[in-house]
Symmetry: C2
Subunit: 337 residues, 2 copies
């Protein structure tokens, strides 16, 4: 008997899905990217799905159900944007145990609806059933992309620039903050946590947004990334995906990593490595993408986008160049959850 | 606080999804049918999703994981066929607790792959994560249908004939059989259940098939149903869906209900009402559809299809005409799970 833990999530799914045959010409891309790509006419149809389980992916002690609904939708939209697509429909299945009330599900749906309103997505299917324990959420998002403009993760080229949107590590710091307050709170009913000055961290953790704006900017500027992925498991993990799938290496610079000052302050307070948080924090839902070197000037001028390094040949490996100029191999320490 | 149980599944989902707005012209049909209908070009894209939770939807005491994988896929295909579509892609997310091994998941995937092979469907997405308790499976199936030939459940007309494929109640009897043997087995390691002569019941419960053949027959015969639904929660429940959504009534005849002899024998052995089993058993995955009265002769000649009654005006209600000619209102006693 092989324990699942001996394989790890990525190896397991690779193991389970190897040699799967494609039957239909409409299956442009199956397993192995942020979304499946289907061809049903003039546009490509994108489908992505997420399973969110209580106690594994979220903790209802500090995550309000409305926020959970919002976030559940948004993280799926993020996968569609990461293909250079537009999310259009969403279906949701919920399994709930007896401790949940109708009002709880209303809260969840309110968040879900709000996200769909904001991003112009239709809720096109819904289903609830009982669950033996806890809350179980399955979301499928369907989107579209222009033929020839769908961006995959396996198409980065040597000398491409590596770009990232927004800033990194804040969602992770928000989680640390919530976990700390939860521990302090434990047993004390009058406890009121003080989150003053840390609102950004909480927002990044509890109510993340998907980078639709970045997709629009790139389109307006006529920049088609050579590869793209959204950062859900941490920058290192996602960049290593791009490198592995594209058979390339990379160099990124520690001093180029975009970090908010609240994140930096929190890391200091927690006595944690800020770089580790930015590289491995996870749940940032920023876009990580590559563009040809020739677009350097254009990319540098873009709002909310930072060039953090470049793609190199595979043999050169993937590494981080520290502030002092030393090089260390990039290692994925994603959440693996 | 309103307990979920006070509403029931259908009322709850209706409650949660009422007033949901449609933003995109590509959303031909959202919540309220077997699958969402999307328009991305020349064909309509069908999407259906199912959440299957251990202890609620399946019992691993007597359901082998390979069978579970097969069935999980097939029940989704059934939803696509029920729209008069063809399933094309499938994505699957699995949450597993520590008691499952890699081999367990392999078994599950083996069944899933086999179903996809048999029905010509591509596995276009896969994902596994941890779970606190038990096994949790989410499947999304995407299919296509010819524009103008997608068949909904809200379009039955007065005087239409009501048709059903295959036979009813066998899957339910298979479940009763398995539950009985499980109770007997409890604690006795040397126990070997005797399923001789009941293979059909077990197969209907453990390895159901979706009625692709019926869709083909209807197409070959140039019969376009006026409405269609697949029977997952029992004939009564599904027929009442058609009636409610189409604002019509119905009459079905007890002596027209198609029932296999193994089902009948088992009902007698269990001292259960055979008609109740056929009406409310659930998990039959047969197709229930309506055709115009003018097609009576044609419909009557079709293999594996039986005319069981007719659609009438809404005021006349929905009822079953018993063998003795008495009329009783149809009541949904679906599994509601």
């Amino acid at each position: 008997m092989t324990e699942i833990s001996t394989l790890g999530e990525f190896a397991l799914i690779r193991h389970l899905t190897e040699n799967i045959k494609i039957h239909n010409s409409s299956t442009v891309r199956g397993i192995g990217d942020d979304a499946a790509v289907l061809d049903y006419g003039e546009k490509e149809t994108l489908v992505t799905t997420d399973l969110l389980l209580e106690g594994i992916h979220f903790d209802l002690t500090y995550v309000p159900l409305k926020h959970l609904g919002y976030k559940s939708a948004v993280v799926n939209f993020s996968d569609i944007y990461a293909m250079n697509g537009q999310p259009k429909q969403l279906t949701v299945s919920i399994g709930v145990s007896k401790r949940f009330s109708v009002e709880d599900l209303e809260d969840f749906y309110e968040g879900l609806r709000l996200a769909c309103e904001v991003y112009g997505v239709d809720i096109a299917g819904g289903d609830t059933s009982a669950s033996m324990t806890g809350l179980c959420i399955s979301i499928t998002c369907i989107g579209e992309s222009e033929k020839g403009k769908t961006v995959y993760r396996n198409t980065a080229n040597n000398t491409d620039l590596i770009c990232v949107s927004g800033d990194l590590g804040a969602a992770y710091m928000g989680l640390q903050l919530l976990e700390r307050e939860k521990a302090v709170f434990d047993g004390d009913k009058d406890f009121r946590p003080d989150f003053g000055g840390k609102e950004y961290l909480l927002e990044r953790q509890l109510k993340p947004e998907a980078r639709r704006d970045i997709i629009k900017i790139l389109n307006d500027e006529n920049i088609l990334p050579t590869s793209m992925i959204d950062i859900s498991d941490g920058l290192s993990s996602e960049l290593l995906h791009i490198c592995k799938e594209s058979a390339v290496g990379c160099r990124i610079y520690e001093d180029r990593l975009p970090i908010d000052y609240q994140t930096a302050m929190m890391a200091e307070q927690f006595n944690m490595s800020l770089t580790t948080a930015a590289l491995n924090g996870g749940e940032d839902y920023e876009l990580l993408f590559t563009v040809p070197l020739a677009l350097h000037g254009k990319a540098e001028d873009l709002d909310s986008i930072k060039i953090i390094g470049f793609i190199c040949e595979s043999q050169a490996g993937a590494s981080l160049i520290a502030r002092d100029g030393t090089e260390a191999p990039l290692v994925a320490q994603g959440w693996n959850r």
